[in-house]
């Protein structure tokens, strides 16, 4: 199934880093498209460019050549602030090392993306808090709303991060080894949550992983080696 307008389109994207030993190309001529609701796993050996590609797709970084179109907008044409807005409106993120803001409580952390949109009036605030709480309940942390990240275990932190990722009802979710820092049981729990929420909300998913089982659960798998896409498994 290939609908007319893909939500993510990557076109001949390369990324080169200047290094002391001359330019180093870590991603070469990557192209693929992803339709709304699809799920894609990025796999490959360490250093093959998975994180690099993910960052480019999400507009966290700029390609050296090629274009990325996210939710109908060509990222290269936007300035950093405009890209930030696109991220806020359309994406959610989950990282291997959770990336919660240490000075905020669990609830406050989940609220951040909504706060960034600007919460006007008490109604909007109540609503935002309600959906944040609902999501925290959903990931099983309803009793830990006021805890700071340091007071939570790794798995709990990752669940807060998940709640944060879904609080804006993103159309696409980017995950970089979301279970990489978690033990088997916790990893399974987080995986279930990711795919469960993904299904509930109809979110598109881009997932970097080393875990073959995890990759299998995605609709498509993209294998990278040495900065090039070697197989696109449909």
């Amino acid at each position: 199934m290939t609908p007319a307008s893909p939500i993510l389109e990557v076109n001949h994207v390369s990324r080169t880093y200047p290094t002391a030993a001359g330019p180093l190309t870590v991603l070469r001529e990557a192209s693929f498209a992803l339709a709304a609701g699809e799920s894609l796993a990025l796999v490959g050996p360490s250093g093959s460019g998975k994180t690099t590609l993910l960052g480019l797709c999400a507009g966290l970084d700029q390609p050296t050549t090629g274009t990325v179109t996210l939710a109908g907008r060509v990222l290269a044409g936007l300035d950093e602030d405009a890209r930030a807005r696109v991220r806020n409106e359309t994406t959610g993120f989950v990282f291997q090392n959770f990336q919660l803001i240490p000075s905020l409580t669990a609830l406050e952390n989940v609220l951040v993306p909504l706060e960034l949109r600007g919460l006007r009036g008490a109604d909007a605030r109540r609503q935002a808090e309600a959906s944040a709480k609902a999501l925290l309940e959903r990931v099983g942390l309803g009793a830990r709303l006021d805890h700071y990240p340091v007071q939570l275990s790794g798995g709990e932190q990752q669940r807060v991060a998940l709640a944060r990722a879904f609080v804006t009802d993103p159309s696409i979710l980017f995950c970089d080894e979301p279970t990489g820092n978690l033990d088997g049981a916790t990893a399974a729990l987080v995986t279930e949550l990711i795919f469960g929420l993904n299904r509930e909300k109809g979110t598109t998913l881009v997932l970097v992983t080393h875990d073959a089982e995890l990759a299998k659960r995605c609709g498509r798998v993209l294998r990278l080696r040495g900065g090039e896409i070697v197989t696109a498994v449909n």
Binding site: L60, D61, E80, A84, R87, E89, I101, S103, V112, E115
Partner: protein
Amino acid sequence: MHFLLKLAWSDARASRGRLLLTALAVVAGVAALAATGSLGRNISAAIDDQARALLGADMVIEARAAPDAKVDALLARLGGEQSREITFASMLAVPGPDGKAVKSRLITVRAVEPSYPFYGAVESAPATAREQLADNNSVLVEETLLKQFGLAPGSVVRLGQKNFQVAGALQKLPGESAAVAMLSPRVLVSRAGLEGTGLLGAGSLVRYRTHLKFSAATDVDALDAREKDSMRSLRLRADTVSERKRELGKAMENVSGFLRLTGLVALLLGAVGVASAMQALVQRKLATVAVLRCLGAGAGLGLGVFLVQGIAVGVLGSVAGALTGAGLQAALAALIRDFMPVETANFAVRWWEIARAGAIGVALTTLCTLVPLLAVRRVSPLAVLRAVEPVSGRRDPWRWAAGAALAALMLGLTVTLSGNSRQGAAFAGALAAAGGALVLVARGLMAATRRSAQMETMRALPFSLRQGLANLHRPGNRTARLVVALGLGAFLLLTLAFSRSALLGQLQFAGANDRPNLLFFDVQDDQVDLLREKLTALGAAPRAEAPIVTMRLAKLKGRTVEALMQDPQAGVPGWTLRREYRSSYRSAPAETERVIAGNWVEKWDATAGEGVPISVEEGLAKDLRIGLGDELDWDVQGVPVRSRVASLRKVDWQRMSPNFFVLFPTGVLEGAPKFHVLAARAEDKELNARVQREVVTAFGNISVLDLGLIIESLDGVFAKAELAVRFIALFTLATGVVVLAGALAAGREQRMREAVLLRTLGASAAQVRVALITELTALGLLAGGAGAVLALGGGAAVAIYVFETAPVLPWTSMAATMATVTVLTVVTGLLTQRGVATRPPLEVLRAEG
């Protein structure tokens, strides 16, 4: 906006300890600025309020010679009420039962009429003691001297050949500060009381003053302007209230400008602290900012969050500082009271100045926060995926603009606060240069440790030492921050100490070894032989003698002095033309001088028909723009003498020996009215006192200048002045410690993580501690050393340009400073990183998320 504040608040809550520490860095600086500003305002207000009492009259006219008919005519023309005063140097002796002097000291006699002063009052204890002077047999003696000699009202003292009764202690004369009296204590006596002392008209440092009081309608300045020329030609100096006000205002402006600058230094140091704390904050919060960016925050949000915190810190610190300063101004006023010619009792807190200091604090902290913070806008959201290089704002125009605004603010502050644009700019320049030099030193240190880490000898060092040294250059190091903050502090404190030793060292050198330390002056012709015999008998034979003949310059290369003074093109400084020259004659150059051009003439041969061949000191020759062969016409107390420059001399003025600008050959001035100076050396204190006593007993009119006493008095004056400066400098030190603690605390987390990792890998707590101490010691030594070397430069500049002497190298204070800075660094460091070595690793690993 609401979210921004909320985020700022919750973030600040998490690091409130560190933010409070940062706020503390500005407290001392703002306090110093507020206290000195308020004090300065009080001083200038007091000068305005107490203007007439500062002079004690509407006008004072001063002459070097007793008023003659022409002067009297001028004084009659001026009119008003008049009161005359004679002041001169003499010896005050305390006679024993046998009439011989038991104690004696060089003092300044102030012989005044009952009408003195017209405004203000002579302050004495008891308060009415002044009235007793009317009996012409009583004196008021400077309070300090009275105490020193153990005298009390009713004691007997001797001036010249006459005994007086002490009526009381002299505390204050209108418009004179206590510091002046420390150098030469004053003795107040009635003019009529001088009869019978044998001192009238004999001394050499005599001044004749006339105090004038006019009716309220008189325009004193107009009168002064109208008589200016005639007063100049009579060699009179007139002082009016407005002139005194101007002079005092300027002097006081210099004093308070200096204090304000010293205070500003504390503030600038605090600003450096704020900037570096913010820099550290930014580094620590990069991840948070990146997450926010990733979630869709605009570039401004991160900046806003930390800017709000920075401003809050600035406001907090500045308000606390301003209030502290308001409380401290009284203490500062008490410290400088002795230097104040004005009454300091009713000084009040000047809130405007306090507010201004606060505002300066806020502005400075805001800019200092902004410069490092602007980097936050450039944090890449990519940082959530992997550690990216710390952002560089090198090409950020906003950063440049903020930096330029900061530099402009600093320059503006130094210039306005010093009250003198050149000094202010020089000060700012010196500070910038010192700061720059310290940054270079820090960079050098980092490069050196980085490079030397590869060397064999370094590799042989124990692991913990290497680790400590490596921490100096590793990412996240605090080398630059600490070296600048500590070095600047050491630099400023030491420069102060160096200036003092430059001044005192010069004097001590002058009296060193077997050089003369007693100078006898006002010795009459018939007393020279007697005095010489007496000194020899006492075991302090004179080392040098010289006759002194006072004279004035009448013509220079054929042009009259009057014409030259009117002619700005001549380029001859006024003082060289107007001054009274105390010249001498001798047959051969003295030990302390050397002929550098021309020929020394031993004896004048009158038949030669030319001018008298004289020898001129090279500096004076330069000022007068004369050279060998040029003609000078002198007025030797009414007798014209023509001379020509036969030789130029270089003179070592620093030695206490009779030295002169102009020397005549023998055979010319022997008949002129003159007195003599003799220089001698008394090996020990006891002999010194005995010589003075004996001489004063035998020759009431001879004055003795005791070099040891002068050094002591100057040291006392300087110590008092230094106390005030030190008080302010203390703020700098306090700020330095706070900045130090802040900078060290900023690196705490990283050290903690490293230490835990090391311990996990098998390092002992002792190894971790040794690494930490190694790093801190290296930092302290280097910062202290760099500061000391810079101060050496600063002190040398002060010595050369201000005191015009060779700089002194105070090794001990340099070493002491380095040691202090090092100990301070190590102790503060160990305190702020308390527990690094022993903290259970688990806790830190959890905190890492």
